[in-house]
Amino acid sequence: MSDTTQNGSVLAADGTPLKRSLARALRRQKIRALLLIAPLLLFVMLTFIMPIGDMLFRSVENDIVSKTLPRTVVALRDWDANSGEAPGEEVFTALAADLQIAAEAKLHTRVGSRLNYETPGISSLFRKAGRKVKKWDVENDGPFKEQFLEIHKGWGDPDVWRTIQTYSPKFTNGYFLNAADLQKGADGPEWRPEDEQIYWLLFKRTMFMSMVITISCIVLAYPVAWILANLPARSANLLMILVLLPFWTSLLVRTSAWKVMLQQQGVINETLVWLGLVADDARLVMINNQFGTIVAMTHILLPFMILPMYSVMQTIQPTYLRAAKSLGATNWTAFWRVYFPQSIPGIGAGSILVFILSIGYYITPELVGGTKGVFISNRIAFHISSSLNWGLAAALGAILLAVVLVLYWAYDKIVGIDNVKLG
């Protein structure tokens, strides 16, 4: 039973507005549903959300300087970086005290390498100074400025001190500036020198190549998915195994296979030369460049495009095509106006999968990309495992995440995310 009050809202049987009692009824359901998925939610939180949170935190975190050199940081606060002179004696006194403690705990080299990311050469200053400072008596051996300069005249360089001062706050945008090919200049962010710019180029290349890979996947996957969806179940299953077969072989094996195919002494080049289509001294360069990366990655990511397309196409009943034809549409019109629009959710889902996977891909570009075909993730991997600049790696990762989210948002605006169907 329902009733309508004067202002038009509908009342439930007990007199409360229908909207509110509906909301109450739904809330109970929602809580129950939430409790049911609580373990999963917890798992996702622990294994997924927290690492991402940690990464985002690392990309701005910078407490190593203020923690290891607390007195120096305080003493340096009043120093004017634009004065063109090294700071005064009190700063060096503080530094001596800080460094002695740090050197005992063997922490001085870590500050050194942290600051070395920003101004190359600093780490050796810290290493040398640390060794000497251990033997000093901080109370009585002053003044220290001269002694520091004796250890290394770099301690008199205002740029070194500017770096220490700039990176003394607990949080920094330095990693992000770095990741965008910028640096902290005397007055705000400025571009790095032309020859040091690399990330901007890598981001652009990653986007562009992921786009190309996605498009080639769409072009290749659509007919395959169509055949799969329209074949009788038995043969479709057989074909499906062929599609899934690549999943059963190691990624490395597949990528190496492409090396064999594409290299200059490889199968394709040999065949072309044998056919006389390519001169022996003008063999095609198809590996260790962008072409090789695109070919190998399209191959590897193709199943991720085929599967969602297939599952969407399977739900499109053949009667729609028949209906279109009975209404007078030619085969092409029936496909283009009736079948294709209904398969778009599959294309959307596949594209999002492939694009996001390829944007973060690492192994294949590393193996077949050469220098021209590497992605931003290869750079991230380098910073994580070789240069150990985790903050920069985190900042690059955060930027990548932001780009993906922006693209996702744009996709939602243009195509509509409810138009994405995985099955």
Binding site: Y320, R322, K325, S326, L327, G328, T330, A334, Q342
Partner: protein, 366 residues
């Protein structure tokens, strides 16, 4: 009625056969001829080949053998989109990504009609099925009956002369079904279109059609107007399939002056009209409609044959009474009587005499 050699036949099937797998014939020797404007229903049990016939006519399946003609020309080699046949599918097949108006305008667009003409025709078609206000909705936002009407409007909007409907009312409830049955026949007659309608609901077939083709096992068992089909079934399948029917089995003793004397399996003798029995000694199945059986001595027709019967059950059904009897050793013999003020209500256990006219009792194939 028209037969296969009729010259003004609009739709013709001539000796059509169809096999999907090269082993079994799904349609065996189909001959059918329809004049323009006829409403013909294909009626038959599941799997009897009705949809297959429709698909061959629409061009989605090719006949394995034989000729299908439309307006005198063979259409075996004309692709579906050039046949100009409207079609209502069993599941409606409304395009889910288009609005109702776009669905209706689709056949007009592919025919390259101008925008204003399209809009006008779409509006007219929507009004015709009383769905004028729904043009902007998506098919998923309509009820089953509404979708059905849209499917009908879409099949009619490009003014085809022939419309095929494959169990279009299968998914609807009884009331809506009856309403739509009326609306479809009404529309078809008003527009003068030729309709081939498929159903396995016999009431639907009888109430809607000019003629009904009863399908069984890939063959037309009987092709006749509804009243003839009901009253003069040509074989025992049709008699069984259409309406309620009592059967008694026996052997033909003799045939004289168009009356067959049949000895039932328990030894009783009855008169029957020979339909497809011709010689004494043949086994036969005698069929009598329940409403043609009389047990009231005062109303018993002149010269009726009588049999002894025992009342097993009396079923009150409102407008009629259904009484189950044991006759000639079988206890599934039904009598239907009208609920009239002077009607006798039989009680179980009662012994009565039942009788009928010889021409209501048809001796068919066994």
């Amino acid at each position: 009625m028209a037969d296969a050699s009729n010259h003004d036949a609009f739709v013709e099937f001539e000796r059509v056969q169809k096999s999907y797998d090269g082993e079994n014939l799904v349609v065996k020797d189909l001959n059918l001829s329809m004049p323009k404007g006829e409403f013909l229903t294909m009626l038959g049990p599941s799997g009897s080949g009705k949809t297959t016939c429709l698909m061959m006519l629409a061009g989605f399946e090719t006949a394995t053998h034989g000729d299908i003609r439309l307006g005198g020309t063979s259409i075996n080699n004309i692709p579906p989109h050039k046949r100009g046949i409207g079609m209502v599918f069993q599941n409606y097949a409304l395009f889910p990504h288009m609005t109702i108006a776009e669905n209706l305008s689709f056949p007009l667009e592919v025919r390259k009609l101008g925008k204003s003409e399209r809009e006008e025709k779409v509006m007219r078609a929507l009004d015709m099925v009383e769905m004028g206000a729904f043009g902007g909705r998506r098919p998923a936002q309509l009820s089953g009956g509404q979708q059905q009407r849209i499917a009908l409007a879409r099949a009619l909007v490009f003014e085809p002369e022939l419309v095929l409907m494959d169990e279009p009312l299968g998914a609807l409830d009884k009331q809506l079904r009856e309403k739509m049955q009326f609306e479809i026949t009404h529309l078809a007659h008003r527009l003068g279109i030729t309709v081939v309608y498929v159903t396995h609901d016999q009431t639907e077939a009888l109430t809607m059609s000019d003629r009904v083709a009863v399908f069984e096992d890939g063959r037309i068992q009987q092709l006749a107007p509804p009243d003839k089909l009901y009253e003069e079934p040509q074989n025992s399948f049709v008699a069984q399939f259409i309406g309620e029917n009592n059967t008694l089995e026996g052997v033909v003793k003799e045939i004289n002056d168009g009356v067959a004397l049949v000895q039932l399996d328990n030894g009783d003798l009855i008169d029957a009209k020979p339909i497809n029995v011709s010689q004494p000694g043949e086994r036969t199945r005698v069929s009598i409609r329940p409403e043609r059986v009389e047990f009231n001595k005062d109303r018993m027709p002149e010269g009726a044959h009588t049999l002894k019967a025992e009342v097993m059950e009396f079923i009150y059904m409102g407008d009629i009474f259904r009484t189950r009897l044991r006759v000639a050793g079988k206890d599934d013999f039904f009598v239907k009587t009208r609920n009239a003020p002077d009607q006798v209500r039989l009680t179980p256990g009662q012994e009565i005499e039942i009788g009928w006219l010889a021409e209501d009792c048809r001796a068919l194939d066994a």
